[in-house]
Subunit: 275 residues, 2 copies
Amino acid sequence: MAHESITSVQNPLIKRLHQLLEKKGREAQGRFLVEGAHLVEEALKSEAEVLTVLYDSERDMDAGCRQALNNHPHSVQVIAASAAVLAKLSETKSPQGIVAEVKKKQVNWDDWMTEKAAGQEGMLLLLLDEIQDPGNLGTILRTAEAAGVDGVVLGKGSVDLYNGKVMRSTMGALFRLPVFTRSLPEVADEWQAQGGQLLVSTLHEQSISYDAVPYAQKAAIVIGNEGRGVSDAMVERADYLVHIPIYGRAESLNAAVAAGVFVYEAQRKRKDRLI
Amino acid sequence: MAHESITSVQNPLIKRLHQLLEKKGREAQGRFLVEGAHLVEEALKSEAEVLTVLYDSERDMDAGCRQALNNHPHSVQVIAASAAVLAKLSETKSPQGIVAEVKKKQVNWDDWMTEKAAGQEGMLLLLLDEIQDPGNLGTILRTAEAAGVDGVVLGKGSVDLYNGKVMRSTMGALFRLPVFTRSLPEVADEWQAQGGQLLVSTLHEQSISYDAVPYAQKAAIVIGNEGRGVSDAMVERADYLVHIPIYGRAESLNAAVAAGVFVYEAQRKRKDRLI
């Protein structure tokens, strides 16, 4: 570990890292920030490439982070900094005293699909059609990883994956789950051409209940925008339009809850059939 | 409708309403605020007692709110105010130009339980053991109402039900769903004495999967704190300890997603058996 120490928010490194709090800066640099001991530890323990860790020189570094740093295969620049510097790189009211700079991971969609298709019989994808709320997107990724979804595709118009609030809501799932950004209609066409089933979540009048779907081993579930739902392009392509029944007078479910109920039912039914 | 207009944030009414942004003020006055056209309309259309509606004098009042106001059975004080006054009563970055003051509803638990037990054979309760995040609590209430849960009980140590972020996440469910604050162990004892089933969500090693539970028509589901899970007092009382399988490497599900998956499975199984 290096032992530099930074106390000025005008330090060029801090100014560069500060730009990563904005989407524009993340896109220009191809990097993003994660904040807090839990996320930093998850990043260090995953295959993500962690470039820099900054910690508050007046606090002890979290023991889990310290151990994960020692075991991390890449060389990481470790820097002590003042509380003011950490606050400058924080989006939360109570800065957690540790921040990491991580390189965005580029997985090639075509390679991934080819490898997946060759390696396993079944496959479950989650396609997200313009999810806008960062907390929802993060929670959906956390749920997808927990439920054993193989990969997630974000359509155009989604909130930025590397947004700080998305990161915090994932609880680290992004470091373990393949996530792609692609045109959803193109992905749907490709998927169906390969025999994949397309299940579109919607309150359309011709939809069937999520527990009546004949789930295929190769299935993709589409979850729509919080306000407008899924786009017409995806509704037109659906093998099944699917809803989750509303028994009360609510208009709809939260997008992350709907994704959870739908994906868990798909896994339950698909796994039953494998046994 | 009255047509006063308020432009000063020092106005005594505004100062009093401003106190409702804090828990202390809500408890002292027995009232709370809801912000935004959707929530104000839901409040006016429900059985909630709306006392005051303030709207931005420079914007048209939302048509849905205006109509709901006309149909509201109680007399409501309707006040035009400046954008600065609305901002003073807002917790969001972009004030929505309409706020309502609502009286807290007091439903008597014993009366409600007696009436429910007499009126319907089955019953599904959701018991929340120290949910801390306001967004989670609001989303759980929205989910519970959508899933047709009969009532929700908040244990001690929960985030305040009338917190603005809870309100916004409910999408109005609180105006339609009976919610009580009570000692959960006492509720559990009473429930079981009346033949109710107690299902406790936990990652305990002796737990069974949520889809293997023999759901009773009279069931209560317990969801625990985001970090610590359910309290020992509830684990000890459980008829079944229940988990949702984690297929990936995530440690857990978000509390609102877990509640959604669990409650929807309970409804599915309970309704199947009624047919």
